[in-house]
Every structure is written in structure tokens, then in C-alpha cells.
């Protein structure tokens, strides 16, 4: 493998990892508030659709990205109604949300299949893009990629340094403690669901506005599910999610190039690798004990009035 191919591989890793990073960060925020949302795939593809349709009508990719986030948040809102208002089963509701989102996007998007978007164009950051290796790998992309670089640190700061973020995480660990502190844990979970869904939607927007520049069915092709696995892989920590998204993206980019170079390793084996790593991460996290595992109240509903 020559040097040029290696640099191109790293650049492709960042591009393949970006939609995963947004979706993973969204699901991570939701799960830290104590809500399991398996509807990532459905919210993500609806985000891709909202982004497409708004860009198609207005031609403004920033407005389209905002619409994708808000649209996905509306879909996520349904999950809140089921789980927070009616105390429904979070797993079932999330799965239903995926089926609903994929179906609805197919239905609404059917007349537009194959329509192109202008979307975001890549834009080289002055000076930084001229650095050898780092320039082409990190600084010759589109704006959504640049925003994704700072996202894990912003989320980490929010979790650790703001009282709102601390309360949100507490709602995922010990909701009754939040209530004892005079705050409403249900409200924190509403915030977790809607803010999380917003970023999942932006991940979808990346697919229709940057990655493919078009609308079609099956645009997410299972990336939402990878995000669910990545949250576990990341032990619910934002910076590890960045690592995980690039690792998964990198393996995808690597296996394509290994095939192109004619290596004998079967492609099916390479494609399995990210999932094998997730299982390994799960094993490690349970072996290490509580400190590095899931939020304690993840998946448990809050009894009304408790």
C-alpha cells in the first residue's frame, strides 16, 4: 500500500465515520438520560428525508440541516409520548419507530427518488488544509464534517460542567435522586430524547446533503443500527464515540480498499469485524464492572408521581 493510498484511506475514514458520529452522539445523549431508543435508523432516514426536501424546496443546506434535526426530534417526540407519558416498553417503542420512520420516508419520498441535491460542497480550511497528511485527512471536507469534530467535546462539557447536563445524566443513573434534588427527571428525559434525536437527524442530513447528494430509498442502509452498537462500544462516553465512529468508518473504508488491491482476505470477514469488536467491548465493559457500563436506570421507566 503506497503512501497516497494510505492518506486517501484516512480521509475516507473520516467521511465514512461522520454520519455514524452524529447518530452515535445523538443516541448517546438519549441513553445517558436513561431512555433506550432503538428508533435511530428510522429517525436518521427521516432526517435524511427532511434535509432533502427542504434543500430541494429552498436550496439552503443550513436550513435543511436544521429541518433534519427538528424533524427527527419530532419523530423522537413520539418515543417520549409512548415511554414517558404512557410508560410503554422502550424496546418495543424504539423498534416500532424504526419501522415507522423507514416506511414513512419511503412513502413520502417515493415521488422524489433519484432527485439530486446541491447540498454542502467541500471547502478547504485555509492554512490547515495545506499541512501534509493532516490537511487532506481532516481539513478538506464539508462544513458538517468540521462541526462533527467539536461535537464530542461540546457534549462532554455539557455532561460534566453544566447543571442541566449533570441533571440529565442523573436522570439516567438515579431518577429518584433527581426528584429529591427538586428537579423533574421526566423533563430531563424529554430533553435527552429530543436533543438526541436532533443529532441523529443531522447524521441523516449528512447522507442526503454531503455523502450522496441525492434522495432515494434505503439511504441509511443500517447505519442507524451501527450507531446503537457504537454507543455500547463507546461505554456511553462521548470521546470514545468519536474513536468508535472512526474505527467503524475506517474498517469499512479499509475493507473496500483491501478488496480493490486484491488481497485474499474474504470481504465478509472484514465486514464482520466491527460487530465482533462491539461484542468484545461489551465483554470488557461487563468484566470491568459498573464504572464503565451503562447508565444504571437505562431502559427503566419512571413511575408517575414517584
Amino acid at each position: 500500500m503506497t503512501w497516497d493510498i494510505f492518506v486517501a484511506l484516512l480521509a475516507a475514514t473520516v467521511l465514512a465515520g461522520t454520519p455514524l458520529l452524529y447518530a452515535t452522539m445523538g443516541e448517546l445523549i438519549t441513553e445517558r438520560s436513561g431512555v433506550l431508543n432503538l428508533g435511530v435508523e428510522g429517525m436518521m432516514i427521516m432526517g435524511a428525508f427532511f434535509a432533502f426536501i427542504v434543500e430541494y424546496k429552498t436550496g439552503n443546506p443550513w436550513l435543511a440541516t436544521l429541518a433534519a434535526g427538528l424533524g427527527a426530534a419530532c419523530i423522537g417526540f413520539l418515543h417520549g409520548v409512548v415511554c414517558l407519558v404512557f410508560q410503554g416498553n422502550q424496546t418495543v417503542s424504539g423498534l416500532a419507530l424504526t419501522i415507522f420512520g423507514v416506511g414513512l420516508s419511503d412513502y413520502l419520498g417515493a415521488p422524489f427518488i433519484g432527485q439530486k441535491t446541491v447540498g454542502f460542497q467541500s471547502f478547504d480550511i485555509p492554512l490547515l488544509s495545506d499541512i501534509p497528511v493532516l490537511g487532506p485527512v481532516f481539513f478538506q471536507h464539508d462544513p458538517l464534517v468540521y462541526l462533527s469534530f467539536v461535537l464530542p467535546w461540546v457534549v462532554m462539557w455539557f455532561f460534566r460542567r453544566t447543571s442541566l447536563g449533570l441533571a440529565l445524566c442523573a436522570a439516567g443513573e438515579a431518577p429518584e435522586a433527581v426528584r429529591a434534588a427538586g428537579l423533574n427527571p421526566v423533563r430531563m428525559r424529554w430533553l435527552g430524547i429530543c436533543a438526541g434525536a436532533f443529532f441523529v437527524g443531522v447524521g441523516g442530513a449528512y447522507l442526503s446533503l454531503c455523502a450522496t447528494h441525492l434522495w432515494t430509498h434505503n439511504l441509511t442502509a443500517g447505519k442507524g443500527w451501527i450507531a446503537v452498537a457504537l454507543v455500547i462500544f463507546a461505554f456511553w462516553r462521548p470521546r470514545r464515540a468519536l474513536l468508535g465512529a472512526y474505527l467503524f468508518g475506517g474498517i469499512m473504508a479499509l475493507q473496500l480498499r483491501m478488496q480493490a488491491l486484491g488481497t485474499a482476505i474474504p470481504s465478509s470477514l472484514m465486514m464482520m469485524l466491527p460487530y465482533a469488536l462491539t461484542i468484545l467491548a461489551l465483554l470488557v465493559s461487563s468484566a470491568r464492572g459498573k464504572g464503565r457500563s451503562a447508565p444504571a436506570a437505562l431502559g427503566e421507566n419512571i413511575a408517575p408521581g414517584a
Partner: protein, 361 residues
């Protein structure tokens, strides 16, 4: 509560069992007209596989005395059987299903409904009232390979392929034979995506190939993702299914295309004349069911002339694509000189010809 669930399930099953009897009367009313039902695996709106078959349905719909209906996005498996059964019970005379996984349920129902004609595309089971039909798209791929072989400057061509099954492997081999008939130095690099339709993944696969130095991208995928990758990087591309030049106007050299309308036209005319015979049909360039699209402006006249001449010799039967000697990747002779690969070999192909870089599994 459990009792009600059981009762509801029981009633639902009874209802389904009774359905065929309930509507058998309508079959006689419709006897004068031909009713043709189509079942597709994907939506028809994507200019892909189902869209092409639906052009044939629309053509039939125009004919007097022919009534058609279609169901799109029917998953292979139990849902397909329900969909076919439903059409059987509604008095359709002809039922068309265009995905491989519909074969077994269709063969089962064909035994049960001897008066209905069943058409199944891309499988191998056939009977007195069931036809299997497909096209030798590899003949068109050979011709597109000649164009790609003439246009490559790096002598490396990248093939974005769906699944390692005989149909796809055969296409890659025919394409490579075409490439090397005009450019014996050229190599074809293969990447499997294990998707039929995923624009993002298929585009990324093409980018991976472009990164390692290919300058022509060809695809066996249903999305235009690989075409877009070639366009963005200033490379050339070869399309599949339909003329894909709208997705990549500067890159698109030519495409291997299907024209299913011709098959459905032939079928409906013979069916109505009472001369249609069910069987196993594998149509080629000479039937017009597979073809190549118009050339892109960048393809020079001498290349066009050469490819057109090869097309003419395939159409009139003087040339067969898999004519020996054909060697595989290890240099082993698979088809001896002076012989032509039999159809059984083509239908079970799981090895690559010389000049392909990649693994056929």
C-alpha cells in the same frame, strides 16, 4: 384476554383460508379479458430493475382487452406467497414475478392453479404453466468491456459488484474478456459491496477503487452511486440497467441495458394468439432484450465501429462471448480453444477469468 387473542387469530386464519373461494366467481366474469398481475421486489420509481419491468406492464395496459395490476416492494418469502395467492384468487390469467426469491412460492402455486400462466424472471424452475426467463446481459457487458478497455489510460478498471453469485461473476468475466480483447494488458479490479441498492456504500466502493488507481468504474449495482463517484473524480464510467448518463454526463461511456418491454410484447402477442409455450428462455442481444446504450461523446469513432462490429457478430451468431481458449485467474484452461462454454458452465460460474484482480467468493 388471551382467549380473545387466540379467537382473533383463529378467525383471521379461517378468513384467509376462505378468501380464494369467496372471489372465484369473479374469475369467470373476467374470462374475456386478459388480466395480468405483476409482483416487484422494489419500488418502481427508481429507474432500476422494477421500473424496467413496469415499462412492459404499461405497454400491455395500452392494449385493448388487457387489464394489468402491480404490487411493488413485496419482500421475498412468505409475503410473496400471499401476494401471488391473492392474485390467483382474484382471477388473474397471467402472473409475473421478477425476483429470484419468488421462484419457490410461484412454482408451488403453479401446481395448484394449472389454468393460470406464471412467468418468473431470473430463476430456473419451469413447468407446463410456468415459464422462467432471463437475459444474457453478459453479452452486452462484453461490448461495454471493449469500450472500457479502449478508453482506460492506466490499464486498470474498477468493477463495483453486488454479491458473488454466478450471474454477477459471469458479468465480470464477460466484461473482462471484452476489455482484454482490445487491451490485453488491462486488469479489472473487483470490489464486492454485498448490497444491491445502497447509493452511499456503492459510491464509497467506487471511491476505494479510484484511490488505488483505476480510471474507469463499472458496476453491477442498481444505484447510480458508482457513476457519481467517477464523475466527481474525473474518471470514466460504464452504467448498468438503464442509460445512466444523467447521473454522470461527463463520465458515462456506455451502459449494458435491459429492454424487458420487448419480452412482454412478444409474450402478450403469442399468449393472445394462443401460441405461447411455457419453458425456459434465456434471451440475448439477438432478441433485443439486452443491449448497449448510446455512446458518450468522448468515445471515438474507431472504438464505436469496432464495438458495433462485435455486436453484429454476436447478434448473427458468428461469435460467442465465452469462446475458448478461456483461462482462469490461476492460468488453468477452463474452455479449450475451438469450444464454447456450455450454458451449464455459465449458470454455475464461480471462478474469475485471467485479468481479474479479486476473489470470486
Amino acid at each position: 384476554m388471551r382467549f380473545f387473542n387466540c379467537a382473533a387469530a383463529f378467525l383471521a386464519v379461517c378468513g384467509m383460508a376462505l378468501l380464494p373461494f369467496a372471489s372465484s366467481a369473479s374469475a369467470e366474469d373476467a374470462a374475456k379479458n386478459v388480466k395480468v398481475g405483476f409482483i416487484y421486489v422494489s419500488p418502481v420509481g427508481d429507474e432500476g430493475w422494477s421500473w424496467m419491468h413496469d415499462q412492459g406492464r404499461k405497454m400491455m395496459e395500452e392494449l385493448p382487452g388487457v387489464e394489468t395490476a402491480m404490487m411493488e416492494s413485496v419482500p421475498e418469502g412468505p409475503d410473496a406467497e400471499r401476494a401471488i395467492k391473492n392474485m390467483c384468487s382474484k382471477g388473474y390469467n397471467v402472473i409475473v414475478a421478477t425476483s429470484f426469491g419468488y421462484m419457490d412460492p410461484m412454482a408451488k402455486l403453479a401446481r395448484r392453479h394449472p389454468d393460470i400462466t406464471f412467468l418468473h424472471c431470473s430463476g430456473y424452475k419451469h413447468s407446463d404453466n410456468m415459464t422462467c426467463y432471463f437475459g444474457r446481459i453478459y453479452e452486452a457487458r462484453y461490448l461495454t468491456g471493449m469500450v472500457a478497455g479502449a478508453m482506460t489510460k492506466t490499464n486498470e478498471i474498477g468493477y463495483v459488484a453486488a454479491f458473488p453469485i454466478p450471474e454477477v461473476v459471469r458479468g465480470i468475466n464477460a466484461f473482462t474478456l471484452g476489455v482484454r480483447s482490445v487491451n490485453p494488458e488491462a486488469k479489472v479490479r473487483v470490489v464486492w459491496t454485498r448490497t444491491w441498492y445502497s447509493p452511499d456504500d456503492e459510491k464509497k466502493a467506487a471511491e476505494g477503487l479510484l484511490d488505488v488507481g483505476v480510471d474507469v468504474i463499472v458496476q453491477h449495482q442498481n444505484s447510480a452511486g458508482p457513476q457519481v463517484a467517477a464523475e466527481e473524480r474525473g474518471a470514466y464510467s460504464v452504467g448498468y440497467n438503464t442509460d445512466m448518463s444523467s447521473a454522470a454526463p461527463k463520465a458515462h461511456l456506455v451502459a449494458a441495458v435491459w429492454d424487458w418491454k420487448k419480452f412482454y410484447e412478444k409474450f402478450i402477442n403469442e399468449y393472445r394468439a394462443g401460441t405461447w409455450k411455457n419453458g425456459n428462455y434465456w434471451y440475448g442481444l439477438s432478441d433485443g432484450i439486452v443491449d448497449i446504450s448510446a455512446y458518450g461523446d468522448m468515445v471515438p469513432a474507431d472504438v464505436r465501429a469496432k464495438v458495433d462490429a462485435a455486436k453484429a457478430s454476436i447478434v448473427n451468431g458468428t461469435y460467442k462471448v465465452f469462446s475458448g481458449p478461456v483461462k482462469d485467474q490461476e492460468g488453468k484452461e477452463r474452455v479449450p480453444a475451438g469450444q464454447v462454454a456450455p450454458d451449464e458452465m455459465l449458470l454455475s460460474m464461480d471462478w474469475f477469468v485471467e485479468g481479474v484482480i479479486g476473489t470470486a467468493r
